[in-house]
Amino acid sequence: MAESTINNKMTMWTKIWVDDDPTVAPGEFSLNIDLSKYSWLLIGIKISSTQNPGFGKFYEVPIDNTTDPDDTNNPALWTHMYLFGDQFFTSGNTATPFIYTRKVRAWKTGIDFTNGFRHRTNGTAAANISDGYCMPIVIYAR
Protein backbone atom coordinates (compact mmCIF):
# COMPACT_ATOMS: atom_id res chain seq x y z
CA MET A 1 0.00 0.00 0.00
CA ALA A 2 1.33 3.40 -0.93
CA GLU A 3 2.33 5.68 1.94
CA SER A 4 -0.19 8.48 2.48
CA THR A 5 0.94 12.06 2.96
CA ILE A 6 -2.31 13.01 4.67
CA ASN A 7 -2.49 13.52 8.42
CA ASN A 8 -4.64 11.07 10.34
CA LYS A 9 -5.20 12.72 13.71
CA MET A 10 -8.43 13.90 15.29
CA THR A 11 -10.55 12.97 12.34
CA MET A 12 -13.79 11.07 12.57
CA TRP A 13 -12.90 9.53 9.24
CA THR A 14 -11.20 6.16 9.04
CA LYS A 15 -9.03 5.38 6.06
CA ILE A 16 -10.38 2.13 4.63
CA TRP A 17 -8.73 1.89 1.21
CA VAL A 18 -5.75 3.33 -0.69
CA ASP A 19 -4.91 2.67 -4.32
CA ASP A 20 -1.72 0.60 -4.40
CA ASP A 21 -0.56 2.14 -7.66
CA PRO A 22 -2.27 5.32 -8.96
CA THR A 23 -0.56 4.89 -12.34
CA VAL A 24 -2.67 1.80 -13.10
CA ALA A 25 -5.98 2.49 -14.85
CA PRO A 26 -8.72 0.86 -12.75
CA GLY A 27 -11.63 0.75 -15.23
CA GLU A 28 -15.00 -0.37 -13.91
CA PHE A 29 -14.51 -2.12 -10.59
CA SER A 30 -15.99 -3.03 -7.22
CA LEU A 31 -14.61 -3.22 -3.70
CA ASN A 32 -15.88 -5.77 -1.20
CA ILE A 33 -15.59 -3.93 2.13
CA ASP A 34 -17.71 -4.23 5.29
CA LEU A 35 -19.23 -0.76 5.62
CA SER A 36 -22.06 -1.75 7.97
CA LYS A 37 -20.81 0.44 10.83
CA TYR A 38 -20.36 3.55 8.67
CA SER A 39 -22.78 5.95 7.04
CA TRP A 40 -20.63 8.06 4.71
CA LEU A 41 -17.60 7.70 2.48
CA LEU A 42 -15.09 10.41 1.56
CA ILE A 43 -13.48 9.54 -1.77
CA GLY A 44 -10.41 11.33 -3.11
CA ILE A 45 -10.10 11.27 -6.89
CA LYS A 46 -7.72 12.59 -9.50
CA ILE A 47 -8.13 13.32 -13.19
CA SER A 48 -6.37 10.31 -14.66
CA SER A 49 -3.88 7.55 -14.11
CA THR A 50 -1.32 9.41 -16.24
CA GLN A 51 -1.57 12.67 -14.30
CA ASN A 52 1.04 13.47 -11.68
CA PRO A 53 0.09 12.46 -8.13
CA GLY A 54 -2.29 14.85 -6.41
CA PHE A 55 -5.96 15.06 -5.62
CA GLY A 56 -8.49 16.73 -7.85
CA LYS A 57 -11.37 16.62 -5.43
CA PHE A 58 -12.89 14.79 -2.47
CA TYR A 59 -16.49 13.60 -2.71
CA GLU A 60 -18.79 12.67 0.16
CA VAL A 61 -20.86 9.62 -0.76
CA PRO A 62 -23.72 8.24 1.40
CA ILE A 63 -23.72 4.52 2.21
CA ASP A 64 -27.11 3.08 1.39
CA ASN A 65 -28.74 0.75 3.88
CA THR A 66 -28.93 -2.38 1.76
CA THR A 67 -26.90 -5.56 1.40
CA ASP A 68 -28.14 -6.47 -2.06
CA PRO A 69 -28.28 -3.39 -4.26
CA ASP A 70 -29.88 -3.15 -7.63
CA ASP A 71 -31.14 -0.20 -9.59
CA THR A 72 -34.86 -0.74 -8.95
CA ASN A 73 -35.85 -2.56 -5.77
CA ASN A 74 -32.90 -1.98 -3.46
CA PRO A 75 -31.37 1.19 -4.73
CA ALA A 76 -27.83 2.10 -3.86
CA LEU A 77 -27.92 5.41 -5.64
CA TRP A 78 -25.11 6.52 -7.88
CA THR A 79 -23.16 9.64 -6.94
CA HIS A 80 -21.94 11.60 -9.95
CA MET A 81 -18.36 12.80 -9.58
CA TYR A 82 -16.62 15.21 -11.90
CA LEU A 83 -13.29 16.98 -12.31
CA PHE A 84 -12.19 19.77 -14.60
CA GLY A 85 -9.07 19.20 -16.65
CA ASP A 86 -5.85 21.12 -16.26
CA GLN A 87 -6.98 23.41 -19.09
CA PHE A 88 -9.19 25.21 -16.59
CA PHE A 89 -6.45 26.03 -14.12
CA THR A 90 -4.14 28.16 -16.25
CA SER A 91 -4.35 31.38 -18.20
CA GLY A 92 -3.54 31.50 -21.89
CA ASN A 93 -4.42 27.82 -22.33
CA THR A 94 -6.24 27.22 -25.61
CA ALA A 95 -6.35 23.42 -25.42
CA THR A 96 -9.75 21.75 -25.58
CA PRO A 97 -11.34 22.06 -22.13
CA PHE A 98 -12.35 18.64 -20.80
CA ILE A 99 -14.48 17.43 -17.93
CA TYR A 100 -13.77 14.00 -16.41
CA THR A 101 -16.49 11.92 -14.78
CA ARG A 102 -17.13 8.64 -12.99
CA LYS A 103 -20.06 7.38 -10.93
CA VAL A 104 -19.86 5.59 -7.58
CA ARG A 105 -22.34 3.91 -5.26
CA ALA A 106 -21.89 2.40 -1.80
CA TRP A 107 -23.91 0.08 0.41
CA LYS A 108 -23.35 -2.05 3.53
CA THR A 109 -20.85 -4.45 2.03
CA GLY A 110 -19.37 -2.87 -1.03
CA ILE A 111 -18.57 -0.01 -3.38
CA ASP A 112 -19.09 0.10 -7.16
CA PHE A 113 -17.28 2.38 -9.57
CA THR A 114 -18.28 2.77 -13.21
CA ASN A 115 -15.81 3.40 -16.00
CA GLY A 116 -14.31 6.84 -16.32
CA PHE A 117 -15.30 9.24 -19.09
CA ARG A 118 -13.90 12.41 -20.61
CA HIS A 119 -16.13 14.87 -22.42
CA ARG A 120 -15.17 18.11 -24.11
CA THR A 121 -17.11 21.01 -22.68
CA ASN A 122 -17.04 23.06 -25.87
CA GLY A 123 -18.69 20.68 -28.33
CA THR A 124 -21.17 17.89 -28.81
CA ALA A 125 -18.75 15.13 -29.79
CA ALA A 126 -19.28 11.84 -28.00
CA ALA A 127 -17.45 11.30 -24.74
CA ASN A 128 -14.32 9.15 -24.60
CA ILE A 129 -14.22 6.22 -22.24
CA SER A 130 -11.01 5.33 -20.47
CA ASP A 131 -10.21 3.07 -17.56
CA GLY A 132 -7.86 5.72 -16.20
CA TYR A 133 -10.13 8.77 -16.14
CA CYS A 134 -11.44 10.23 -12.87
CA MET A 135 -9.91 7.53 -10.72
CA PRO A 136 -10.25 7.05 -6.96
CA ILE A 137 -7.01 6.97 -5.00
CA VAL A 138 -8.09 7.02 -1.33
CA ILE A 139 -11.32 6.28 0.55
CA TYR A 140 -12.27 7.26 4.11
CA ALA A 141 -15.42 6.19 6.01
CA ARG A 142 -17.29 7.45 9.08
Binding site: T5, T11, Q51, F55, F88, T90, S91
Partner: protein, 137 residues
Protein backbone atom coordinates in the same frame (compact mmCIF):
# COMPACT_ATOMS: atom_id res chain seq x y z
CA UNK B 1 -41.22 12.03 0.49
CA UNK B 2 -40.01 8.46 0.88
CA UNK B 3 -38.16 7.68 4.07
CA UNK B 4 -34.44 7.87 3.63
CA UNK B 5 -32.42 4.71 3.92
CA UNK B 6 -29.28 6.68 4.62
CA UNK B 7 -27.98 6.84 8.18
CA UNK B 8 -27.42 10.37 9.40
CA UNK B 9 -24.15 11.51 10.91
CA UNK B 10 -23.40 15.17 11.53
CA UNK B 11 -19.76 16.20 11.19
CA UNK B 12 -18.41 18.67 13.69
CA UNK B 13 -16.86 21.42 11.62
CA UNK B 14 -14.99 24.15 13.52
CA UNK B 15 -14.90 27.57 11.92
CA UNK B 16 -11.23 28.63 11.79
CA UNK B 17 -11.25 31.57 9.35
CA UNK B 18 -13.61 34.10 7.85
CA UNK B 19 -12.77 36.52 5.08
CA UNK B 20 -13.16 39.97 6.70
CA UNK B 21 -14.02 41.64 3.41
CA UNK B 22 -14.94 39.19 0.72
CA UNK B 23 -16.55 41.91 -1.41
CA UNK B 24 -13.37 43.98 -1.50
CA UNK B 25 -12.66 45.58 -4.85
CA UNK B 26 -9.03 44.62 -4.38
CA UNK B 27 -9.92 40.98 -4.88
CA UNK B 28 -8.08 38.00 -3.47
CA UNK B 29 -4.55 37.42 -4.72
CA UNK B 30 -2.73 34.10 -4.54
CA UNK B 31 -1.63 33.79 -0.91
CA UNK B 32 -1.23 31.59 2.15
CA UNK B 33 -3.51 32.09 5.15
CA UNK B 34 -1.59 31.04 8.26
CA UNK B 35 -3.61 28.78 10.56
CA UNK B 36 -2.68 26.21 13.18
CA UNK B 37 -4.23 23.12 11.65
CA UNK B 38 -1.99 20.61 13.42
CA UNK B 39 -4.92 19.13 15.33
CA UNK B 40 -7.08 18.50 12.29
CA UNK B 41 -7.16 16.22 9.27
CA UNK B 42 -9.39 18.06 6.78
CA UNK B 43 -10.58 21.57 6.04
CA UNK B 44 -13.73 22.61 4.23
CA UNK B 45 -13.42 25.79 2.17
CA UNK B 46 -16.31 27.93 1.01
CA UNK B 47 -15.90 30.30 -1.91
CA UNK B 48 -18.01 32.74 -3.86
CA UNK B 49 -17.99 33.09 -7.62
CA UNK B 50 -16.49 36.59 -7.57
CA UNK B 51 -16.26 39.80 -5.58
CA UNK B 52 -19.15 41.14 -7.66
CA UNK B 53 -21.29 38.01 -7.65
CA UNK B 54 -21.76 36.32 -4.30
CA UNK B 55 -23.15 33.17 -5.79
CA UNK B 56 -21.74 30.46 -3.59
CA UNK B 57 -19.75 27.79 -5.36
CA UNK B 58 -18.72 24.43 -4.04
CA UNK B 59 -17.38 24.05 -0.50
CA UNK B 60 -15.03 21.14 -1.00
CA UNK B 61 -13.23 19.10 1.64
CA UNK B 62 -9.46 19.44 1.46
CA UNK B 63 -7.00 16.99 3.08
CA UNK B 64 -4.34 18.52 5.32
CA UNK B 65 -1.01 17.27 4.04
CA UNK B 66 2.06 16.77 6.17
CA UNK B 67 4.26 16.33 3.13
CA UNK B 68 5.72 18.82 0.65
CA UNK B 69 3.47 21.23 -1.19
CA UNK B 70 2.09 19.75 -4.37
CA UNK B 71 1.48 21.96 -7.37
CA UNK B 72 -1.13 19.57 -8.61
CA UNK B 73 -3.98 20.02 -6.14
CA UNK B 74 -6.98 21.64 -7.80
CA UNK B 75 -10.20 21.92 -5.90
CA UNK B 76 -12.23 25.08 -6.12
CA UNK B 77 -14.58 25.36 -9.08
CA UNK B 78 -17.53 27.71 -9.53
CA UNK B 79 -19.85 27.86 -12.53
CA UNK B 80 -21.09 31.16 -13.93
CA UNK B 81 -24.64 32.08 -12.94
CA UNK B 82 -25.93 31.82 -16.49
CA UNK B 83 -25.79 28.02 -16.50
CA UNK B 84 -28.34 27.93 -13.69
CA UNK B 85 -31.25 29.27 -15.70
CA UNK B 86 -32.85 28.83 -19.11
CA UNK B 87 -32.90 32.50 -20.07
CA UNK B 88 -29.28 33.43 -20.52
CA UNK B 89 -27.50 32.97 -23.82
CA UNK B 90 -24.21 34.26 -22.46
CA UNK B 91 -21.03 32.24 -22.51
CA UNK B 92 -20.87 29.56 -19.81
CA UNK B 93 -17.74 30.03 -17.73
CA UNK B 94 -15.93 27.86 -15.22
CA UNK B 95 -14.00 29.69 -12.49
CA UNK B 96 -11.22 27.82 -10.72
CA UNK B 97 -8.53 28.21 -8.09
CA UNK B 98 -5.97 25.70 -6.88
CA UNK B 99 -5.84 25.15 -3.13
CA UNK B 100 -3.55 23.34 -0.74
CA UNK B 101 -3.78 22.76 3.02
CA UNK B 102 -0.97 21.94 5.44
CA UNK B 103 -0.54 21.97 9.22
CA UNK B 104 0.40 25.66 9.11
CA UNK B 105 -2.24 27.08 6.83
CA UNK B 106 -4.16 27.08 3.60
CA UNK B 107 -2.55 28.18 0.34
CA UNK B 108 -4.58 29.55 -2.53
CA UNK B 109 -3.31 29.82 -6.09
CA UNK B 110 -4.38 32.36 -8.67
CA UNK B 111 -7.96 32.32 -9.96
CA UNK B 112 -8.80 31.55 -13.56
CA UNK B 113 -11.81 31.78 -15.82
CA UNK B 114 -12.31 29.56 -18.85
CA UNK B 115 -15.05 29.83 -21.46
CA UNK B 116 -16.57 26.35 -21.69
CA UNK B 117 -18.09 26.94 -25.11
CA UNK B 118 -14.89 27.76 -26.96
CA UNK B 119 -11.18 27.07 -27.06
CA UNK B 120 -10.30 30.69 -26.39
CA UNK B 121 -7.57 31.07 -23.80
CA UNK B 122 -8.36 31.12 -20.11
CA UNK B 123 -7.63 34.31 -18.20
CA UNK B 124 -6.76 35.20 -14.62
CA UNK B 125 -8.20 37.78 -12.24
CA UNK B 126 -7.97 38.24 -8.47
CA UNK B 127 -11.70 39.00 -8.28
CA UNK B 128 -12.74 35.43 -9.02
CA UNK B 129 -13.32 32.49 -6.66
CA UNK B 130 -13.12 34.52 -3.46
CA UNK B 131 -12.80 32.29 -0.36
CA UNK B 132 -15.14 33.34 2.43
CA UNK B 133 -14.96 30.75 5.23
CA UNK B 134 -12.78 27.82 6.28
CA UNK B 135 -13.82 25.06 8.65
CA UNK B 136 -11.53 22.39 10.07
CA UNK B 137 -12.26 18.94 11.42
Amino acid sequence: MAESTILEFQPEYELVWENPDYSSSSGFAAQTISLDLSGYTFVKVEAHLSEADHTRGESPIIPIHDGPVSSNVKFLTCMSSNIYNTESTGNPYAYTRAIYASETGVTFGAAYRRNMSSTSAGTTNTNWVIPTRIWAF
